[in-house]
Assembly symmetry: C2
Homo-oligomer: 310 residues x 2
Protein backbone atom coordinates (compact mmCIF):
# COMPACT_ATOMS: atom_id res chain seq x y z
CA UNK A 1 0.00 0.00 0.00
CA UNK A 2 2.66 2.57 -0.89
CA UNK A 3 1.47 6.16 -1.43
CA UNK A 4 -1.97 5.13 -0.31
CA UNK A 5 -3.72 8.31 0.53
CA UNK A 6 -3.36 11.07 -1.99
CA UNK A 7 -1.87 9.94 -5.25
CA UNK A 8 -3.99 8.21 -7.83
CA UNK A 9 -0.95 6.33 -9.03
CA UNK A 10 -1.06 2.58 -8.61
CA UNK A 11 1.08 0.67 -6.16
CA UNK A 12 4.74 0.04 -6.88
CA UNK A 13 4.83 -3.08 -9.08
CA UNK A 14 5.87 -6.21 -7.24
CA UNK A 15 8.61 -6.77 -9.80
CA UNK A 16 10.33 -3.57 -8.77
CA UNK A 17 10.31 -4.67 -5.15
CA UNK A 18 11.64 -8.08 -5.98
CA UNK A 19 14.34 -6.62 -8.24
CA UNK A 20 15.45 -4.40 -5.39
CA UNK A 21 16.33 -7.42 -3.26
CA UNK A 22 19.99 -8.40 -3.57
CA UNK A 23 20.65 -11.73 -5.25
CA UNK A 24 22.23 -13.11 -2.10
CA UNK A 25 19.43 -11.87 0.14
CA UNK A 26 19.14 -15.11 2.05
CA UNK A 27 22.78 -15.07 3.09
CA UNK A 28 22.79 -11.39 4.06
CA UNK A 29 20.78 -9.63 6.77
CA UNK A 30 17.33 -9.59 5.19
CA UNK A 31 16.10 -6.30 3.79
CA UNK A 32 12.83 -5.11 5.29
CA UNK A 33 10.11 -6.40 3.02
CA UNK A 34 6.62 -5.13 2.37
CA UNK A 35 3.62 -7.40 2.83
CA UNK A 36 3.17 -7.55 -0.94
CA UNK A 37 6.73 -8.78 -1.36
CA UNK A 38 6.35 -11.34 1.42
CA UNK A 39 3.20 -12.75 -0.16
CA UNK A 40 4.76 -12.85 -3.62
CA UNK A 41 7.72 -14.78 -2.21
CA UNK A 42 5.81 -17.13 0.12
CA UNK A 43 6.43 -20.77 -0.86
CA UNK A 44 3.43 -22.89 -1.80
CA UNK A 45 3.84 -24.79 1.46
CA UNK A 46 3.02 -21.68 3.47
CA UNK A 47 -0.54 -21.66 2.11
CA UNK A 48 -3.42 -23.84 3.32
CA UNK A 49 -6.58 -24.95 1.56
CA UNK A 50 -9.52 -24.86 3.96
CA UNK A 51 -11.45 -28.08 4.48
CA UNK A 52 -14.62 -27.99 2.32
CA UNK A 53 -16.48 -29.31 5.37
CA UNK A 54 -15.72 -25.93 6.98
CA UNK A 55 -16.69 -23.65 4.10
CA UNK A 56 -20.05 -21.95 3.73
CA UNK A 57 -20.71 -20.47 0.28
CA UNK A 58 -23.34 -17.73 0.36
CA UNK A 59 -24.86 -16.63 -2.94
CA UNK A 60 -26.16 -13.06 -3.15
CA UNK A 61 -27.32 -11.35 -6.31
CA UNK A 62 -24.22 -9.16 -6.02
CA UNK A 63 -21.80 -12.08 -5.78
CA UNK A 64 -20.32 -14.75 -3.55
CA UNK A 65 -19.40 -14.69 0.12
CA UNK A 66 -17.22 -17.50 1.49
CA UNK A 67 -17.04 -18.16 5.23
CA UNK A 68 -14.59 -20.53 6.90
CA UNK A 69 -16.05 -22.15 9.99
CA UNK A 70 -13.88 -23.05 12.96
CA UNK A 71 -14.84 -26.34 14.60
CA UNK A 72 -11.90 -25.77 16.95
CA UNK A 73 -13.69 -22.83 18.55
CA UNK A 74 -17.37 -23.76 18.20
CA UNK A 75 -17.73 -27.48 17.50
CA UNK A 76 -21.44 -27.75 18.27
CA UNK A 77 -22.41 -24.65 16.33
CA UNK A 78 -20.32 -25.69 13.36
CA UNK A 79 -21.91 -29.15 13.36
CA UNK A 80 -25.34 -27.53 13.36
CA UNK A 81 -24.39 -25.07 10.62
CA UNK A 82 -23.28 -27.94 8.39
CA UNK A 83 -26.71 -29.53 8.80
CA UNK A 84 -28.54 -26.24 8.22
CA UNK A 85 -26.54 -25.58 5.05
CA UNK A 86 -26.85 -29.13 3.71
CA UNK A 87 -30.61 -29.03 4.16
CA UNK A 88 -30.98 -25.62 2.50
CA UNK A 89 -32.21 -23.86 5.63
CA UNK A 90 -30.84 -20.45 4.61
CA UNK A 91 -31.88 -20.59 0.94
CA UNK A 92 -34.36 -17.80 0.27
CA UNK A 93 -33.86 -16.09 3.64
CA UNK A 94 -32.34 -12.60 3.87
CA UNK A 95 -29.91 -10.14 5.35
CA UNK A 96 -32.04 -8.30 7.88
CA UNK A 97 -29.71 -5.90 9.63
CA UNK A 98 -26.82 -3.55 8.84
CA UNK A 99 -25.75 -1.38 11.77
CA UNK A 100 -23.04 1.10 10.88
CA UNK A 101 -19.66 0.40 12.48
CA UNK A 102 -20.98 -2.77 14.09
CA UNK A 103 -22.54 -5.80 12.35
CA UNK A 104 -24.46 -7.14 9.38
CA UNK A 105 -26.82 -9.97 10.32
CA UNK A 106 -28.81 -12.55 8.38
CA UNK A 107 -31.26 -15.36 8.93
CA UNK A 108 -35.01 -15.81 9.25
CA UNK A 109 -36.64 -12.40 9.72
CA UNK A 110 -39.61 -14.17 11.29
CA UNK A 111 -37.51 -16.52 13.42
CA UNK A 112 -38.94 -15.11 16.65
CA UNK A 113 -42.51 -15.84 15.59
CA UNK A 114 -43.37 -19.52 16.11
CA UNK A 115 -46.26 -19.22 13.65
CA UNK A 116 -44.07 -17.96 10.83
CA UNK A 117 -40.56 -19.26 11.60
CA UNK A 118 -38.94 -21.60 9.10
CA UNK A 119 -38.54 -25.15 10.49
CA UNK A 120 -34.98 -26.22 11.34
CA UNK A 121 -35.18 -29.68 9.78
CA UNK A 122 -32.64 -32.06 11.30
CA UNK A 123 -30.72 -29.26 12.99
CA UNK A 124 -30.84 -28.77 16.74
CA UNK A 125 -32.94 -25.91 18.04
CA UNK A 126 -30.84 -25.47 21.16
CA UNK A 127 -27.09 -25.61 21.65
CA UNK A 128 -24.76 -25.00 24.56
CA UNK A 129 -22.99 -21.65 24.66
CA UNK A 130 -19.52 -21.91 23.11
CA UNK A 131 -18.06 -18.58 24.16
CA UNK A 132 -14.67 -20.22 24.69
CA UNK A 133 -13.03 -23.63 24.50
CA UNK A 134 -10.27 -25.20 26.60
CA UNK A 135 -6.73 -24.46 25.42
CA UNK A 136 -5.44 -27.56 23.63
CA UNK A 137 -1.76 -28.15 22.97
CA UNK A 138 -2.40 -29.68 19.56
CA UNK A 139 -3.89 -26.43 18.22
CA UNK A 140 -1.02 -24.22 17.08
CA UNK A 141 -0.94 -20.77 18.65
CA UNK A 142 1.38 -18.05 17.41
CA UNK A 143 1.38 -15.32 19.98
CA UNK A 144 1.46 -11.67 18.98
CA UNK A 145 4.18 -9.87 20.97
CA UNK A 146 2.07 -6.74 21.45
CA UNK A 147 -0.06 -5.67 24.38
CA UNK A 148 -3.82 -6.18 24.18
CA UNK A 149 -6.29 -4.65 26.60
CA UNK A 150 -9.00 -7.25 26.12
CA UNK A 151 -7.15 -10.51 26.73
CA UNK A 152 -4.06 -11.75 28.59
CA UNK A 153 -2.70 -13.18 25.33
CA UNK A 154 -3.66 -12.76 21.68
CA UNK A 155 -2.41 -14.39 18.53
CA UNK A 156 -3.36 -16.70 15.70
CA UNK A 157 -4.50 -20.32 15.50
CA UNK A 158 -4.93 -22.04 12.15
CA UNK A 159 -5.88 -18.86 10.31
CA UNK A 160 -8.04 -17.24 12.98
CA UNK A 161 -7.42 -14.34 15.40
CA UNK A 162 -7.60 -15.71 18.91
CA UNK A 163 -7.63 -14.50 22.50
CA UNK A 164 -6.36 -16.69 25.33
CA UNK A 165 -6.45 -16.69 29.09
CA UNK A 166 -3.85 -19.24 30.22
CA UNK A 167 -4.80 -18.85 33.89
CA UNK A 168 -8.38 -19.83 33.06
CA UNK A 169 -7.23 -22.36 30.45
CA UNK A 170 -9.49 -20.93 27.75
CA UNK A 171 -9.22 -19.59 24.20
CA UNK A 172 -11.72 -17.89 21.90
CA UNK A 173 -12.13 -16.56 18.39
CA UNK A 174 -11.83 -12.76 18.80
CA UNK A 175 -14.27 -10.22 17.33
CA UNK A 176 -12.21 -8.70 14.52
CA UNK A 177 -13.43 -7.30 11.20
CA UNK A 178 -14.93 -10.14 9.16
CA UNK A 179 -15.46 -12.49 12.10
CA UNK A 180 -18.81 -14.33 12.06
CA UNK A 181 -20.81 -15.10 15.18
CA UNK A 182 -24.09 -16.72 16.14
CA UNK A 183 -26.68 -14.24 17.41
CA UNK A 184 -28.34 -14.95 20.72
CA UNK A 185 -31.01 -13.51 23.00
CA UNK A 186 -30.40 -12.79 26.66
CA UNK A 187 -30.01 -16.47 27.57
CA UNK A 188 -26.44 -17.67 26.99
CA UNK A 189 -27.58 -20.88 25.28
CA UNK A 190 -30.11 -19.21 22.99
CA UNK A 191 -28.07 -19.37 19.78
CA UNK A 192 -28.30 -22.26 17.35
CA UNK A 193 -26.64 -20.86 14.22
CA UNK A 194 -29.83 -19.86 12.40
CA UNK A 195 -29.00 -16.17 12.92
CA UNK A 196 -25.46 -15.15 12.00
CA UNK A 197 -23.70 -11.78 12.09
CA UNK A 198 -20.41 -10.47 10.74
CA UNK A 199 -18.32 -7.61 12.13
CA UNK A 200 -18.18 -4.67 9.69
CA UNK A 201 -16.53 -1.94 11.80
CA UNK A 202 -14.14 -1.24 14.62
CA UNK A 203 -13.57 -4.56 16.37
CA UNK A 204 -16.26 -4.95 19.07
CA UNK A 205 -14.04 -6.95 21.39
CA UNK A 206 -16.47 -6.37 24.27
CA UNK A 207 -18.50 -9.17 22.65
CA UNK A 208 -15.63 -11.61 23.22
CA UNK A 209 -16.62 -14.29 25.76
CA UNK A 210 -20.22 -13.06 25.59
CA UNK A 211 -21.33 -14.85 22.44
CA UNK A 212 -20.32 -17.76 20.22
CA UNK A 213 -18.04 -16.90 17.29
CA UNK A 214 -18.06 -19.50 14.53
CA UNK A 215 -15.67 -18.42 11.77
CA UNK A 216 -14.58 -15.67 9.45
CA UNK A 217 -15.28 -14.34 5.97
CA UNK A 218 -12.55 -15.37 3.50
CA UNK A 219 -14.09 -13.69 0.46
CA UNK A 220 -16.85 -11.17 -0.13
CA UNK A 221 -16.57 -8.78 2.82
CA UNK A 222 -17.09 -5.77 0.52
CA UNK A 223 -20.51 -7.14 -0.42
CA UNK A 224 -21.58 -7.25 3.22
CA UNK A 225 -19.80 -4.18 4.59
CA UNK A 226 -21.16 -1.89 1.85
CA UNK A 227 -24.82 -2.79 2.37
CA UNK A 228 -27.05 0.21 3.05
CA UNK A 229 -27.49 0.67 6.78
CA UNK A 230 -30.89 -0.15 8.24
CA UNK A 231 -32.88 2.75 9.64
CA UNK A 232 -34.62 0.83 12.42
CA UNK A 233 -33.31 0.30 15.97
CA UNK A 234 -30.08 -1.68 15.89
CA UNK A 235 -29.81 -1.22 12.12
CA UNK A 236 -32.67 -3.59 11.27
CA UNK A 237 -34.40 -2.80 8.00
CA UNK A 238 -37.84 -1.40 8.65
CA UNK A 239 -39.31 -2.53 5.32
CA UNK A 240 -39.04 -6.17 4.19
CA UNK A 241 -38.24 -4.92 0.67
CA UNK A 242 -34.98 -3.42 1.96
CA UNK A 243 -33.63 -6.79 3.04
CA UNK A 244 -31.05 -8.42 0.78
CA UNK A 245 -32.16 -11.85 -0.47
CA UNK A 246 -29.91 -14.82 0.21
CA UNK A 247 -30.27 -17.14 -2.76
CA UNK A 248 -28.37 -19.99 -1.14
CA UNK A 249 -25.92 -20.89 1.60
CA UNK A 250 -24.26 -24.17 0.70
CA UNK A 251 -21.61 -26.25 2.42
CA UNK A 252 -18.69 -26.49 0.00
CA UNK A 253 -18.33 -30.21 0.72
CA UNK A 254 -21.87 -30.71 -0.61
CA UNK A 255 -21.10 -28.94 -3.89
CA UNK A 256 -19.65 -30.56 -7.00
CA UNK A 257 -15.87 -30.18 -7.02
CA UNK A 258 -16.03 -27.60 -9.84
CA UNK A 259 -18.31 -25.32 -7.81
CA UNK A 260 -16.22 -25.29 -4.64
CA UNK A 261 -14.26 -22.13 -3.88
CA UNK A 262 -10.63 -22.53 -4.89
CA UNK A 263 -9.26 -20.42 -2.06
CA UNK A 264 -6.27 -20.80 0.18
CA UNK A 265 -5.13 -18.77 3.13
CA UNK A 266 -1.69 -18.05 4.48
CA UNK A 267 -0.72 -20.49 7.24
CA UNK A 268 -0.53 -18.40 10.42
CA UNK A 269 2.14 -20.76 11.77
CA UNK A 270 4.38 -20.26 8.70
CA UNK A 271 7.58 -18.19 8.42
CA UNK A 272 5.84 -16.03 5.80
CA UNK A 273 3.12 -15.07 8.25
CA UNK A 274 5.68 -14.26 10.95
CA UNK A 275 7.42 -11.99 8.44
CA UNK A 276 4.09 -10.41 7.53
CA UNK A 277 3.31 -9.57 11.15
CA UNK A 278 6.70 -7.91 11.51
CA UNK A 279 6.19 -6.06 8.20
CA UNK A 280 2.98 -4.61 9.59
CA UNK A 281 4.44 -3.73 12.98
CA UNK A 282 7.16 -1.78 11.16
CA UNK A 283 6.39 -0.79 7.60
CA UNK A 284 8.95 -1.09 4.83
CA UNK A 285 6.91 1.10 2.45
CA UNK A 286 8.62 4.41 1.73
CA UNK A 287 5.37 6.26 2.51
CA UNK A 288 5.72 5.53 6.24
CA UNK A 289 7.94 8.05 7.99
CA UNK A 290 7.39 6.66 11.47
CA UNK A 291 7.17 3.03 12.51
CA UNK A 292 4.58 2.10 15.13
CA UNK A 293 6.57 -0.85 16.46
CA UNK A 294 3.20 -2.30 17.41
CA UNK A 295 0.09 -3.84 15.96
CA UNK A 296 -3.30 -4.73 17.36
CA UNK A 297 -4.67 -8.23 16.85
CA UNK A 298 -7.43 -7.00 14.56
CA UNK A 299 -5.07 -4.93 12.38
CA UNK A 300 -3.12 -7.97 11.20
CA UNK A 301 -4.20 -8.99 7.67
CA UNK A 302 -5.00 -12.67 7.16
CA UNK A 303 -4.24 -13.15 3.45
CA UNK A 304 -6.46 -15.23 1.20
CA UNK A 305 -5.87 -15.94 -2.47
CA UNK A 306 -7.22 -17.94 -5.36
CA UNK A 307 -5.47 -21.31 -5.41
CA UNK A 308 -2.90 -21.22 -8.22
CA UNK A 309 -2.79 -23.73 -11.03
CA UNK A 310 -5.22 -25.69 -13.19
CA UNK B 1 -28.14 -1.92 22.67
CA UNK B 2 -29.82 -4.62 24.77
CA UNK B 3 -30.44 -7.96 23.03
CA UNK B 4 -28.55 -6.74 20.01
CA UNK B 5 -27.68 -9.83 18.12
CA UNK B 6 -30.51 -12.21 17.62
CA UNK B 7 -33.86 -10.85 18.52
CA UNK B 8 -35.74 -8.62 16.15
CA UNK B 9 -37.35 -6.91 19.11
CA UNK B 10 -36.53 -3.24 19.56
CA UNK B 11 -34.42 -1.91 22.40
CA UNK B 12 -35.85 -1.55 25.86
CA UNK B 13 -37.62 1.83 25.89
CA UNK B 14 -35.70 4.52 27.69
CA UNK B 15 -38.71 5.18 29.87
CA UNK B 16 -38.46 1.72 31.35
CA UNK B 17 -34.83 2.27 32.26
CA UNK B 18 -35.53 5.65 33.80
CA UNK B 19 -38.47 4.27 35.75
CA UNK B 20 -36.21 1.58 37.17
CA UNK B 21 -33.99 4.15 38.85
CA UNK B 22 -34.95 4.81 42.47
CA UNK B 23 -36.27 8.29 43.21
CA UNK B 24 -33.37 9.00 45.57
CA UNK B 25 -30.75 7.69 43.15
CA UNK B 26 -28.42 10.61 43.65
CA UNK B 27 -28.15 10.08 47.36
CA UNK B 28 -27.62 6.34 47.09
CA UNK B 29 -24.80 4.41 45.44
CA UNK B 30 -25.60 4.96 41.78
CA UNK B 31 -27.05 2.06 39.84
CA UNK B 32 -25.03 1.03 36.83
CA UNK B 33 -26.52 2.88 33.90
CA UNK B 34 -26.58 2.08 30.22
CA UNK B 35 -25.25 4.58 27.70
CA UNK B 36 -28.81 5.28 26.54
CA UNK B 37 -29.83 6.17 30.08
CA UNK B 38 -26.77 8.37 30.59
CA UNK B 39 -27.50 10.30 27.42
CA UNK B 40 -31.17 10.68 28.26
CA UNK B 41 -30.23 12.09 31.67
CA UNK B 42 -27.31 14.31 30.58
CA UNK B 43 -27.99 17.96 31.48
CA UNK B 44 -28.06 20.49 28.64
CA UNK B 45 -24.76 21.90 29.93
CA UNK B 46 -22.97 18.64 29.11
CA UNK B 47 -23.57 19.20 25.39
CA UNK B 48 -21.55 21.50 23.12
CA UNK B 49 -22.49 23.16 19.84
CA UNK B 50 -19.56 23.06 17.43
CA UNK B 51 -18.31 26.39 16.07
CA UNK B 52 -19.77 26.93 12.56
CA UNK B 53 -16.27 28.02 11.50
CA UNK B 54 -15.23 24.40 12.13
CA UNK B 55 -18.09 22.63 10.33
CA UNK B 56 -17.94 21.36 6.77
CA UNK B 57 -21.30 20.43 5.25
CA UNK B 58 -20.99 17.98 2.37
CA UNK B 59 -24.00 17.51 0.10
CA UNK B 60 -24.32 14.16 -1.65
CA UNK B 61 -27.35 13.02 -3.63
CA UNK B 62 -27.94 10.49 -0.84
CA UNK B 63 -27.88 13.07 1.95
CA UNK B 64 -25.73 15.26 4.17
CA UNK B 65 -22.35 14.61 5.75
CA UNK B 66 -21.17 16.96 8.50
CA UNK B 67 -17.50 17.11 9.49
CA UNK B 68 -16.13 18.94 12.49
CA UNK B 69 -12.64 20.31 11.87
CA UNK B 70 -10.11 20.57 14.68
CA UNK B 71 -7.95 23.70 14.50
CA UNK B 72 -6.34 22.51 17.74
CA UNK B 73 -4.74 19.60 15.90
CA UNK B 74 -4.21 20.94 12.38
CA UNK B 75 -4.41 24.75 12.38
CA UNK B 76 -2.87 25.32 8.95
CA UNK B 77 -4.89 22.60 7.23
CA UNK B 78 -8.12 23.81 8.84
CA UNK B 79 -7.42 27.39 7.74
CA UNK B 80 -6.88 26.14 4.19
CA UNK B 81 -10.01 23.98 4.27
CA UNK B 82 -12.10 26.99 5.31
CA UNK B 83 -10.82 28.87 2.24
CA UNK B 84 -11.35 25.90 -0.07
CA UNK B 85 -14.93 25.46 1.19
CA UNK B 86 -15.79 29.18 1.10
CA UNK B 87 -14.60 29.40 -2.50
CA UNK B 88 -16.48 26.31 -3.61
CA UNK B 89 -13.38 24.29 -4.44
CA UNK B 90 -15.02 20.91 -3.75
CA UNK B 91 -18.35 21.64 -5.45
CA UNK B 92 -18.79 19.23 -8.35
CA UNK B 93 -15.80 17.06 -7.45
CA UNK B 94 -16.28 13.44 -6.38
CA UNK B 95 -15.60 10.55 -4.06
CA UNK B 96 -12.90 8.63 -5.88
CA UNK B 97 -11.93 5.80 -3.61
CA UNK B 98 -13.52 3.28 -1.25
CA UNK B 99 -11.15 0.64 0.07
CA UNK B 100 -12.82 -1.98 2.21
CA UNK B 101 -11.91 -1.88 5.90
CA UNK B 102 -9.71 1.19 5.34
CA UNK B 103 -10.77 4.57 3.90
CA UNK B 104 -13.12 6.48 1.62
CA UNK B 105 -11.40 9.40 -0.12
CA UNK B 106 -12.61 12.41 -2.09
CA UNK B 107 -11.29 15.39 -4.00
CA UNK B 108 -10.15 16.18 -7.52
CA UNK B 109 -9.70 12.92 -9.46
CA UNK B 110 -7.38 14.79 -11.80
CA UNK B 111 -5.49 16.60 -9.05
CA UNK B 112 -2.21 14.91 -9.99
CA UNK B 113 -2.41 16.17 -13.59
CA UNK B 114 -1.33 19.82 -13.83
CA UNK B 115 -3.14 20.16 -17.16
CA UNK B 116 -6.49 19.05 -15.72
CA UNK B 117 -6.33 19.86 -12.01
CA UNK B 118 -8.85 22.30 -10.62
CA UNK B 119 -7.21 25.58 -9.48
CA UNK B 120 -6.99 26.15 -5.74
CA UNK B 121 -8.09 29.79 -5.77
CA UNK B 122 -6.90 31.68 -2.69
CA UNK B 123 -5.94 28.48 -0.87
CA UNK B 124 -2.33 27.51 -0.36
CA UNK B 125 -0.92 24.74 -2.51
CA UNK B 126 1.62 23.68 0.08
CA UNK B 127 1.33 23.35 3.85
CA UNK B 128 3.61 22.11 6.58
CA UNK B 129 3.00 18.61 7.88
CA UNK B 130 0.80 18.72 11.00
CA UNK B 131 1.17 15.13 12.17
CA UNK B 132 1.15 16.32 15.79
CA UNK B 133 0.99 19.53 17.81
CA UNK B 134 2.62 20.50 21.10
CA UNK B 135 0.67 19.53 24.21
CA UNK B 136 -1.00 22.68 25.53
CA UNK B 137 -2.33 22.96 29.05
CA UNK B 138 -5.35 25.00 27.97
CA UNK B 139 -6.70 22.13 25.85
CA UNK B 140 -8.65 19.79 28.13
CA UNK B 141 -7.50 16.17 28.05
CA UNK B 142 -9.48 13.42 29.73
CA UNK B 143 -7.27 10.40 29.86
CA UNK B 144 -8.63 6.90 29.27
CA UNK B 145 -7.46 4.57 32.06
CA UNK B 146 -6.88 1.67 29.69
CA UNK B 147 -3.71 0.45 28.05
CA UNK B 148 -3.08 1.39 24.41
CA UNK B 149 -0.39 -0.18 22.28
CA UNK B 150 -0.02 2.75 19.88
CA UNK B 151 0.56 5.68 22.22
CA UNK B 152 1.85 6.31 25.73
CA UNK B 153 -1.44 8.03 26.62
CA UNK B 154 -4.85 8.18 24.95
CA UNK B 155 -7.99 10.08 25.78
CA UNK B 156 -10.30 12.83 24.60
CA UNK B 157 -9.87 16.54 23.93
CA UNK B 158 -12.85 18.72 23.08
CA UNK B 159 -14.79 15.94 21.40
CA UNK B 160 -11.92 14.22 19.60
CA UNK B 161 -10.00 10.96 20.29
CA UNK B 162 -6.40 11.88 20.97
CA UNK B 163 -3.04 10.22 21.47
CA UNK B 164 -0.31 11.87 23.52
CA UNK B 165 3.37 11.38 24.16
CA UNK B 166 4.20 13.45 27.25
CA UNK B 167 7.93 12.70 26.97
CA UNK B 168 7.98 14.16 23.47
CA UNK B 169 5.46 16.86 24.42
CA UNK B 170 3.14 16.07 21.51
CA UNK B 171 -0.51 15.18 20.91
CA UNK B 172 -2.42 14.07 17.82
CA UNK B 173 -5.88 13.27 16.58
CA UNK B 174 -5.97 9.44 16.44
CA UNK B 175 -7.16 7.38 13.46
CA UNK B 176 -10.48 6.04 14.73
CA UNK B 177 -13.62 5.22 12.72
CA UNK B 178 -14.97 8.47 11.24
CA UNK B 179 -11.75 10.45 11.59
CA UNK B 180 -10.91 12.62 8.58
CA UNK B 181 -7.37 13.21 7.33
CA UNK B 182 -5.59 15.01 4.52
CA UNK B 183 -4.08 12.67 1.93
CA UNK B 184 -0.44 13.12 1.04
CA UNK B 185 2.17 11.68 -1.32
CA UNK B 186 5.52 10.42 -0.10
CA UNK B 187 6.72 13.89 0.92
CA UNK B 188 5.54 14.75 4.45
CA UNK B 189 4.47 18.26 3.42
CA UNK B 190 2.59 17.17 0.30
CA UNK B 191 -0.94 17.55 1.70
CA UNK B 192 -2.96 20.75 1.39
CA UNK B 193 -6.50 19.61 2.22
CA UNK B 194 -7.73 19.19 -1.36
CA UNK B 195 -7.77 15.40 -0.94
CA UNK B 196 -9.51 14.14 2.18
CA UNK B 197 -10.15 10.63 3.49
CA UNK B 198 -12.27 9.16 6.25
CA UNK B 199 -11.65 5.93 8.18
CA UNK B 200 -14.38 3.33 7.47
CA UNK B 201 -12.94 0.21 9.10
CA UNK B 202 -10.78 -1.12 11.88
CA UNK B 203 -8.83 1.88 13.22
CA UNK B 204 -5.61 2.17 11.17
CA UNK B 205 -3.60 3.61 14.03
CA UNK B 206 -0.35 2.93 12.15
CA UNK B 207 -1.22 6.10 10.23
CA UNK B 208 -0.99 8.14 13.45
CA UNK B 209 1.97 10.54 13.31
CA UNK B 210 2.41 9.74 9.62
CA UNK B 211 -0.24 12.03 8.17
CA UNK B 212 -2.29 15.09 9.12
CA UNK B 213 -5.70 14.38 10.65
CA UNK B 214 -8.10 17.31 10.45
CA UNK B 215 -11.39 16.36 12.11
CA UNK B 216 -14.18 13.84 12.35
CA UNK B 217 -17.56 13.05 10.84
CA UNK B 218 -20.41 14.09 13.16
CA UNK B 219 -23.23 13.02 10.84
CA UNK B 220 -23.50 10.89 7.71
CA UNK B 221 -20.96 8.12 8.26
CA UNK B 222 -23.41 5.51 6.92
CA UNK B 223 -23.46 7.36 3.59
CA UNK B 224 -19.69 7.09 3.25
CA UNK B 225 -19.06 3.70 4.85
CA UNK B 226 -21.68 1.96 2.70
CA UNK B 227 -20.33 3.16 -0.64
CA UNK B 228 -19.53 0.35 -3.08
CA UNK B 229 -15.85 -0.54 -2.84
CA UNK B 230 -13.65 0.45 -5.77
CA UNK B 231 -12.20 -2.40 -7.82
CA UNK B 232 -8.92 -0.66 -8.74
CA UNK B 233 -5.68 -0.77 -6.70
CA UNK B 234 -6.23 0.85 -3.31
CA UNK B 235 -9.99 0.86 -3.84
CA UNK B 236 -9.97 3.61 -6.47
CA UNK B 237 -12.88 3.45 -8.89
CA UNK B 238 -11.69 2.35 -12.29
CA UNK B 239 -14.50 4.06 -14.21
CA UNK B 240 -15.28 7.76 -13.67
CA UNK B 241 -19.00 6.91 -13.73
CA UNK B 242 -18.57 4.91 -10.52
CA UNK B 243 -17.43 7.96 -8.56
CA UNK B 244 -19.99 9.58 -6.27
CA UNK B 245 -20.61 13.24 -7.14
CA UNK B 246 -20.09 15.83 -4.43
CA UNK B 247 -22.67 18.54 -5.04
CA UNK B 248 -21.17 20.94 -2.52
CA UNK B 249 -18.91 21.20 0.51
CA UNK B 250 -19.78 24.40 2.38
CA UNK B 251 -18.43 25.93 5.55
CA UNK B 252 -21.36 26.17 7.97
CA UNK B 253 -20.34 29.72 8.93
CA UNK B 254 -20.84 30.77 5.31
CA UNK B 255 -24.38 29.36 5.19
CA UNK B 256 -27.54 31.20 6.23
CA UNK B 257 -28.39 30.44 9.84
CA UNK B 258 -31.37 28.29 8.82
CA UNK B 259 -29.17 26.03 6.69
CA UNK B 260 -26.51 25.35 9.31
CA UNK B 261 -26.51 21.91 10.95
CA UNK B 262 -28.19 22.05 14.35
CA UNK B 263 -25.96 19.44 15.94
CA UNK B 264 -24.35 19.22 19.31
CA UNK B 265 -21.94 16.71 20.74
CA UNK B 266 -21.41 15.45 24.24
CA UNK B 267 -18.66 17.38 26.04
CA UNK B 268 -15.85 14.89 26.56
CA UNK B 269 -14.82 16.75 29.73
CA UNK B 270 -18.34 16.41 31.26
CA UNK B 271 -19.49 14.06 34.04
CA UNK B 272 -21.90 12.47 31.56
CA UNK B 273 -19.05 11.50 29.26
CA UNK B 274 -17.06 10.08 32.17
CA UNK B 275 -20.10 7.98 33.08
CA UNK B 276 -20.46 6.89 29.45
CA UNK B 277 -16.87 5.67 29.28
CA UNK B 278 -17.41 3.63 32.42
CA UNK B 279 -20.71 2.31 31.06
CA UNK B 280 -18.84 1.03 28.01
CA UNK B 281 -15.94 -0.44 29.98
CA UNK B 282 -18.48 -2.39 32.01
CA UNK B 283 -21.89 -2.84 30.45
CA UNK B 284 -25.09 -2.47 32.43
CA UNK B 285 -27.21 -4.08 29.71
CA UNK B 286 -28.61 -7.45 30.81
CA UNK B 287 -27.37 -9.03 27.57
CA UNK B 288 -23.74 -8.82 28.71
CA UNK B 289 -22.76 -11.78 30.87
CA UNK B 290 -19.11 -10.82 31.19
CA UNK B 291 -17.67 -7.34 31.63
CA UNK B 292 -14.48 -6.49 29.75
CA UNK B 293 -13.30 -3.95 32.34
CA UNK B 294 -11.52 -2.31 29.43
CA UNK B 295 -12.13 -0.26 26.33
CA UNK B 296 -9.97 0.79 23.41
CA UNK B 297 -9.82 4.46 22.46
CA UNK B 298 -11.61 3.85 19.15
CA UNK B 299 -14.42 1.84 20.77
CA UNK B 300 -15.67 4.78 22.84
CA UNK B 301 -18.76 6.36 21.23
CA UNK B 302 -18.69 10.15 20.84
CA UNK B 303 -22.40 11.01 20.93
CA UNK B 304 -23.91 13.61 18.61
CA UNK B 305 -27.53 14.73 18.58
CA UNK B 306 -29.86 17.22 16.97
CA UNK B 307 -29.88 20.36 19.11
CA UNK B 308 -33.15 20.37 21.05
CA UNK B 309 -35.63 23.24 20.99
CA UNK B 310 -36.97 25.76 18.53
Amino acid sequence: MPRPLLSLGIAVPLGALLAALPADAEAAVPEPRTMDAILAQAPAGDWRSPDPENLLVMTLDAGRVVIELSPDHAPEHVANLRILAREGYFDGLSINRAQDNFVVQWGDPYGDDPAKARPLGSARTSLPAEFSTPIRDELPFVRLPDVDGWAPEVGFSDGFPVGRDPAAGIQWLAHCYGIVGAGRGNAPDSSNGTGLYVVIGQSPRQLDLNITTVGRVLEGMPLLAALPRGQGPGGFYEEPALRTPIRRIALAAALPEAERPRLERLDTASPSFAALVEARRNRAEAWYLRQAGHIDLCNVPLPVRERPGR
